[in-house]
Point group: C2
Chain length 137, copies 2
Amino acid sequence: MTNHVLFHTLHQLSRQLTNKLNEALKPYGLYSAQWSVLFVLNTKGSITQKELCEYLFVEAPPMTRTIQRLVKQGYVKQIPGQDKREKFIQLTEEAVKEFPKWEHAVSKCNQALLMDFPETSQQELVSLQSSWLKQLL
Amino acid sequence: MTNHVLFHTLHQLSRQLTNKLNEALKPYGLYSAQWSVLFVLNTKGSITQKELCEYLFVEAPPMTRTIQRLVKQGYVKQIPGQDKREKFIQLTEEAVKEFPKWEHAVSKCNQALLMDFPETSQQELVSLQSSWLKQLL
DNA sequence: AAAAATTAATTACCTAGGTAACTATATCGA
DNA sequence: TCGATATAGTTACCTAGGTAATTAATTTTT
C-alpha cells in the first residue's frame, strides 16, 4: 500500500516541478527539456549528442528534436566531428549572452519551489533519491 | 547547486519508474496512465471524469484520451450522469475480472524496483515527498 | 423567464519521452 | 581488402501531459 503512495507522490512531484519550470521559462521562449540541454552545454562546453543523451539519460530521438528546436532558435549549433557520424553541440554566442538571465529565472523558480521545504529535508531527499536511482540504473 | 541535483534526480527517478511500469504492463496491453485510472476506479467505484482528474491531478484533456482508450479496449464504460454534462466512469466486468492479474504484475514490478531500497528509506522518502508536494499544491 | 456566467467534457495543437526502423559512417574479421 | 557488424543520428509513430478554444448543459443574475 505504501508503495503505491510512494510512486504516486513521486510522479506528482515531478510533474508539478516541470510545470512550474516551464512557466518560469515561458518569457524566454524556452521549455524545461531545452533548459536541461542548455544547462549541460554551459558547464560541459562542446559535446556530442550521444554524450548529451548519456548525461541526461534520454534516448536519442527526443534529444534530436530538442536540439533541432534550439538550433532553430539560434541558441545552439551543431559541428560535424572528425568521425562524420557524430555532431558536436555547443552554445551560440547569443545563448552564452542570454544564459545568465535564464539561469536567474530558473534559480528564482527553484527557490520559490523550495521556499517552505527545509534545507535538511532537501538534503535527505537528494540522498535518498540518489541512492535509489543508482540502484535502478 | 544542490537544488539542481534535487530536481534532476527526481525527474530521472520518475521517468525510470514509469518506464519500468510500462514494461511490466506491456503483456496486458496497458500503459501506466491507464493503470492509474483503473487503480482509482477499482477502489472508488463509479466516479465522474472530473473527480478522476482531481484525484490524479491531471488536466481534463489527457484524462479524456486515456478513458477513450480504455473504453475502446473494453475495460471501462462511461455512464451519463443526472447532470447531463458529466459522465460517470466505471470498470467493466472484464476489467474487474482481469484486475487481479494487472495488480499482481504491477506489484511484482514495484517490489523489484524497491528490492534494494530499505523499507525505512521508503517511508522517509514518502514522508519527505508528501510534505513537499502538499506545500506545492 | 431570459440573458449571462459557470461547468464537464471534448477537440486541436503543443512539448516530452519512448520504441522500431532507417541512413550513413566507422570498425572488425575472414 | 571487402563484407559483416556496430554506432550516431534521424524519421516515423506511439503514450503522457499541458494550454486554448469549443460545445452543451446547468446555474445565477437580472
